[in-house]
Subunit: 283 residues, 4 copies
């Protein structure tokens, strides 16, 4: 909360805010980089604690240690959230941004567990802590490799939607026919269950919890599987094509030495003067 | 049914037909687009009702509601079919076209269920309602992304046939040998069953309902699986190649602003004047 | 067997041989094409008979019919083999060629079953009939699409061998460690069994007959599966690359109209004069 | 151990070392090639002995023969290790190199089994013998095909790391939600177990030991599987792209006949004078 402070204090405060903002929000300084690495370790640690906490069979001492670590990480993330809010250039915008909400939602569940001890509702709330893992994505957006992949996927989104639509239509039709052909005695108890089986088969996962047992059912299943075998080629072809295109698009990086831009996506050195090109981010 | 009408009425009728034809059959007007979207929602809704109807365990009231919705969608599709027949430019051609037959067959089952209440035959007829889902395809044919995929698949059809033939030959040979090696006691009860197992394994689905248990059988299965692992690459390579070719073929679209054609498959804007290129259809 | 015949008979005989050779061995005449199609139908029919024969549960009459059909096809293939031998340009060379041996071996089993009725040895001999299916391959070698695929696979054979070697090494190492980690009580009864499990997992088949149950085993299995996920990309990349190269190599076809050669692999028409290019074979 | 030897003996010794070094460490002479082939056979043989040794059910005589073969290979590898150490140009560097350690660790376990007969610890030590298989890799590094694949994978390592990170994040989030949705009664006993299930499903392995049974769980699983279906395209696209790039990079080989370099990766003959280009190594 900004208060009434004497002018020179305000300046100092503002300077501290700017300095901290560079550490917390930026990624191109040594301090910012160290902050990012610490944050990633803390996020991975807290997600690890959550995972171990769900495993039964440890000694009571272990659960006490995990409980302690959980509060340690929660307090750490609370401090981090308050610090981000304090030094953000536009506080309201940060608080309402996707990552602002994730940052808040990832710290609240531990506090909520004090108010509502136990029960199914609590489990629902506590699982929200897994959202912390999304916070690492924020850092990956600065990695140029990630942006090449993301832009390739974005460019192929219409083709992928058309492809997924075709897959879902096939699954609906095959699932309905299998429901009729196999019937409830083989585990095809309803059309949605048959569609679940069709998805499990078409994607070549094949759990084996529901399998066709009649000759007609097995022939239809064979057709579906061979079709899936050929069809799996389509998204691969699409993504390969888009990656090739993306690789040809010049990178939006300017050489820090000679000012030349228009470098290839995978260039590590300036093609004009040979200086190393900057790679932003931590990964 | 067209009757004897006074001349000026006939003209009005003809005008109404043309107007409705543009709404029902075309996709490039606001009204046509709204009609398409409504139709898609109705199709998805009716398929959803059919799915839920096959699930057991709901309350009797739910089944009553589903029954009512089923008749609602059937009457809607009946009205639509009559409207299409009425305003089609060539009625006989529409009635005999693939989509004309699908449109008819998708509405009949509910009426048939009144004539033949219950029994296996009825189940067969009612499952035909799932054909409604194919009607969405009619709309996707206007999406240029779909046509790129379709033309890539069409161009690679001979290669895919040769590939499928190779796969089926391998499956026949491996299935026959496995029938001999493993025998009925491991579940390989006949050559067709062994071929079914070979398809399940080669496509990497792997249900696990039939598995080799002898050393010789497991070695043969390992060979088949590793072969399948390498062979899965072939359709992917084919489709990638054809997609690359298709992407190089200029798009059959003329700029609405300057009349320039020969645009790239993925062009959104005219390369001559920068005007937005038309995208037909709804998806 | 060629006998002593009067000179003019010998000429007639030789003419008949040449005529029949064109029908039986060549694929570019109407008669040769008809012969090929008949042969394919007979091969598929006889393989179908063999498959149905292995299925238990039909009526005795059905097995009698299948037995009759088996002899019908066997006599047909015997006639065909004798005819091929008679009209081959170089008889010894045909008899010793791969397809000559397949043609012979595919007809013998039915005769052998008269000499040794019943027993495991007979089953082994009878399964040789499935080799008939390989005879269809002989015809596909004339299809240019097949030759593109085959040459792409041939060009990438060293890369695929290196890749398979890497896969087998990983399977050996992971299989040995899993044998130690999981032990016999989880089904990992020996190193070869563990390697079988590793192949089933790496190729993403995943039967589920042997699965890790310990935490350490599941972590190792997860690593293997994610590695397999990334590694499956390698053969695909290789084949795509070779198909692209193969598509760029000009096709060894000469235009029947203007004599121009050097056409693209997928060209249907001469690029000089527009005449249809010949497609050899039946598929 | 080098001792005090008269001058002319030292020269001979040094000459012998150089000569043996060329045989043992180099791959471009007939003797070196023969040594490599012998070594590969010995490695494969000793790994085969280890595998068979883990299988139960053979006669005691078989285990005696396997025990004898194990000591034969161990002594052979001991002689080889000492020989390598003796003739290495820099002995300490070889002893501390990756392959030096592998060479040593691969021979020790059999000796250790004399000191500690039986027990779990021994099993751990003996499994180290499988490391012998890595020694074959040393030879493959001289095969140019392997180096193309390796450099393509190396070039795409950042993209693959970003991809794997995305996969692991998805697995964590989906695993946590499935733990909540399905619960312990369906086999989702903890978050790590749920994540194991998510990896098994996303990689399309699908053992079927843990499967969702609730409607909500099956819908989430379907989403995950279809996502995995689309996502499997990404590493394939990356590797294809990098292989294409690698194929365009000229090969670092000089024609032995005319001295021309800059040949294509897959060139077998010099493009200047047509002489065969050298292929190093044995595979």
């Amino acid at each position: 909360m900004p208060e009434q402070v004497p002018p020179h204090d305000r300046v100092t405060n503002s300077d501290a805010r700017t300095r901290w903002r560079r550490v917390i929000f930026d990624h191109d300084t040594a301090a910012g980089n160290a902050f990012d690495v610490t944050l990633i370790i803390a996020i991975l640690g807290s997600v690890g604690v959550m995972m171990l906490d769900s495993v039964s069979g440890f000694s009571p001492t272990t659960y006490h240690v995990l409980y302690g670590l959980e509060w340690f990480f929660t307090l750490l993330f609370t401090v981090e959230y308050v610090a981000r809010l304090w030094c953000a250039a536009d506080r309201l915008r940060y608080a309402r941004s996707f990552y602002g909400i994730v940052d808040l939602v990832a710290t609240l569940p531990t506090y909520v567990s004090l108010l509502f001890p136990g029960g199914r509702f609590l489990a629902l709330v506590r699982i929200l802590r897994v959202l912390r893992v999304f916070r690492i994505f924020k850092l990956t957006t600065y990695v140029s490799e990630a942006s090449v992949l993301a832009s390739a996927l974005r460019a192929s989104r219409y083709k992928i939607i058309v492809f997924l639509f075709t897959v879902l239509t096939s699954v609906t039709v095959v699932g309905s026919i299998m429901y009729l052909v196999e019937g409830p005695e083989s585990g095809f108890t309803s059309i949605p269950t048959s569609m679940y089986w069709a998805i499990v088969s078409l994607t070549t996962v094949g759990y084996g919890d529901i399998v066709p047992v009649t000759s007609a059912g097995r022939m239809l299943a064979s057709l579906l599987m061979i079709m899936g075998y050929g069809v799996i080629a389509v998204p691969t072809g699409i993504v390969t094509l888009e990656l090739q295109r993306a690789a040809r698009i010049p990178r939006m990086v300017t050489c820090p030495s000679c000012g030349r831009d228009g470098h290839d996506q995978d260039a590590n050195f300036c093609k004009e003067c040979g200086a190393r090109l900057p790679v932003k981010g931590v990964l």
